[in-house]
Symmetry: C2
Subunit: 224 residues, 2 copies
């Protein structure tokens, strides 16, 4: 692990995919050779000072009055994010969500091929989803080894999530993405990210409520 790489703050890492997506969108629309930090900030929804700081962690400082070289930024970000090669994924849980994820084109396209699907229900084993035969979750250690699985996705109901996380860890999988609406814990050396689909709705309801006008009792919050 390089010293330089290790120093990139977590919040910067989390913004790199957003910059990358912004640049890729740009590359299709207006293929300019350079981009200003202001323009990239606008596309990514952050402020320009943050963009400059974030890119400085990649060793990119841009050129005054010219900006950043788009192709080189794309190269740097893809390399930093480990997108120059594929990271095979196993999806655990082949209900609607697991099937939706297996069929979501955006994963394979961006270097995360679905290498395996597993489920605890014997009735689902052998079923074909997205051209892949579902296997039993007991086979996870063998699958992880054989297919070189880098990332495990939990797409089970909430009640099964912690057990699935434990089994992914036991199978030697060190990166987990949890879609189940449950908090799970993993050892410190395992990377865990959580997608809570309701969080985004709650953020929208905040603004929706603001638009709807003042609420009864709003000032109560100030008296605590």
């Amino acid at each position: 692990m390089s010293e330089r790489t290790r120093r990139i703050p977590e919040a910067t890492v989390a913004r790199l995919p957003v910059y990358l997506r912004s640049l890729l969108g740009l590359a299709e629309d207006d293929k300019a050779a350079t981009i200003s930090s202001e323009r990239l900030a606008e596309l990514a929804g952050v402020n320009a000072a943050k963009v400059r700081k974030d890119l400085s962690y990649l060793g990119s400082y841009g050129t005054r009055g010219v900006g950043y070289d788009v192709e080189y930024l794309l190269f740097q970000m893809s390399r930093e994010l480990g997108l120059t090669h594929d990271w095979p994924v196993v999806i655990v849980g082949v209900g609607n969500l697991g099937q939706a994820l297996a069929n979501y084109g955006g994963f394979t396209d961006r270097g995360f091929p679905i290498a395996a699907l597993v489920d605890a229900d014997p009735a689902k084993v052998g079923e074909m989803v997205h051209g892949i035969a579902v296997r039993h979750i007991d086979d996870l250690p063998a699958i992880a080894d054989g297919a070189g699985i880098a990332i495990g996705i939990i797409a089970t109901p909430a009640g099964a999530a912690q057990e699935v996380a434990d089994r992914l860890v036991a199978a030697g999988i060190t990166s987990i993405l949890n879609f189940a609406p449950a908090l799970v814990t993993v050892p410190a050396e395992t990377s865990l990210r959580k997608v809570d689909l309701a969080v985004e709705l709650q953020i929208l309801s905040f603004y929706q409520q603001q638009r709807a006008g003042p609420r009864a009792g709003v000032t109560v919050a100030r008296t605590s």
Copy 2:
């Protein structure tokens, strides 16, 4: 709209659902009456100073040596986020993703009942998903009015996302959650949030690559 509410920064709004989820998880495990900012920070994965600052926007300052009253925090956050009543949702696109979202228990449970499902494909109209008959997207204005739709979810392929966003806006829906892997634009008065499922995988691949050790050419990034 209250002055106080309007002043809550966007980043704080985005963290409120995370605090709320942390408190709800806590309430089940160890039902303490109070919580320290340090403990809440640990659960939510931010630092304690940020927690105190965020909660101060709600008018909560805690009590030194005691912390915050959990029940009151839950009440405040639910009210701020507009979770004291339901926000009916329409899902546009009834493929695997739309069906997964319709069946995802976490929405209705948390105040976002799926009130309608629409699709552009006439063959899907009338199909029952999660107990709801799919309707044609042309009916969107009537559905939005009739069912009091607050939030529209885009669950179509990328190519259809912008048109769907335009149709949601035209139907008077002012909050949109986009799951399609495409950038869409909406008028300034519309709230738009995006869930890009691949972004989380890219963040995981960054850490996965770090664990895998130094890469060839890693120092090149410093020479730009």
